[in-house]
């Protein structure tokens, strides 16, 4: 899927001392989740101690996006990797609340909290 590649919501993956930080941007919907899932698999394969997903620049997320994060959570749990989400806009937060997944994920207000 070439066009999925063009469409990746992953803007940046960078190693910080405390965690591997994955920055997402734009709309995370069915159109853009195939590439997201592939990249998240590669991120987990790097076996970091902690993964932080920075969602500050995400404007919209639908259940396909949430489903990708649920998959990520399952695989990080299996491999004992810590996973934190941060920087959710109210609109993004509300889909986690609607799905009640806000209690399942470790959600921090800002990146600095997730790196603490």
């Amino acid at each position: 899927m070439v066009e999925a590649k063009l469409n990746s919501p992953v803007r940046q993956v960078r190693q910080e001392p405390q965690a591997l930080v994955v920055t997402l941007a734009g709309d995370v919907d069915l159109h853009r989740t195939p590439e997201l899932q592939q990249e998240l698999v590669r991120v987990v394969e790097r076996r970091p101690r902690r993964i932080v997903l920075d969602l500050t620049a995400v404007q919209y997320m639908d259940s396909s996006g949430v489903a990708s994060l649920v998959k990520l959570l399952s695989s990080t749990r299996r491999q004992n990797i810590e996973l934190k989400l941060c920087g959710m806009a109210p609109r993004v937060k509300s889909i986690f609340e609607i799905t009640r997944l806000d209690t399942v994920f470790d959600i921090c207000p800002a990146l600095k909290d997730a790196l603490a």
């Binding site: 919907d29 489903a67 997944l101």
Partner: protein, 164 residues
Amino acid sequence: MSAIPPQPIRLSLASTPAHLPIVRAGVGEIARLVGFDEKAVDAVVLAVDEAMTNIIKHAYDGRNDQPIEAAFTALSEAADGGPAGLTIVLEDRGKPVDPAAVRSRDLDDVRPGGLGVHIMGCCMDRVDYTPREGGGTRLTMTKFLRAADKPGARQPQLTGGTRG
């Protein structure tokens, strides 16, 4: 907002994820026009996005060139005595829905499946699947402007789930 004409706004598109941003943008403005606040607008947008996503994934097995028809009707307080709101009908000509499958999943079970239907039920006041005449599925979702009578997250109501 009495100036909204009663006839529905109709949109027909293809079953491609590429069309999702178009639908979201249009639906958001329709919900705003009907008078929903921004939180409710987001909920309506999310519900329609999920419904389209399901049609693409399940009814059409990921084929991206199949037809989806949407109709948006503003419900006026005066016309039916009930509360004003918005009814959205989405029709596909794909694989019919299995009524047993279209059910909120258990949330304790952390896995992807079943989120979409759950989200639609949370976002809208009514969610009804019925077989479409001529094949496929007709999904009717309604959200009322007065949210007072809405007891939080509700299961979607499944009616007419028998296949045509």
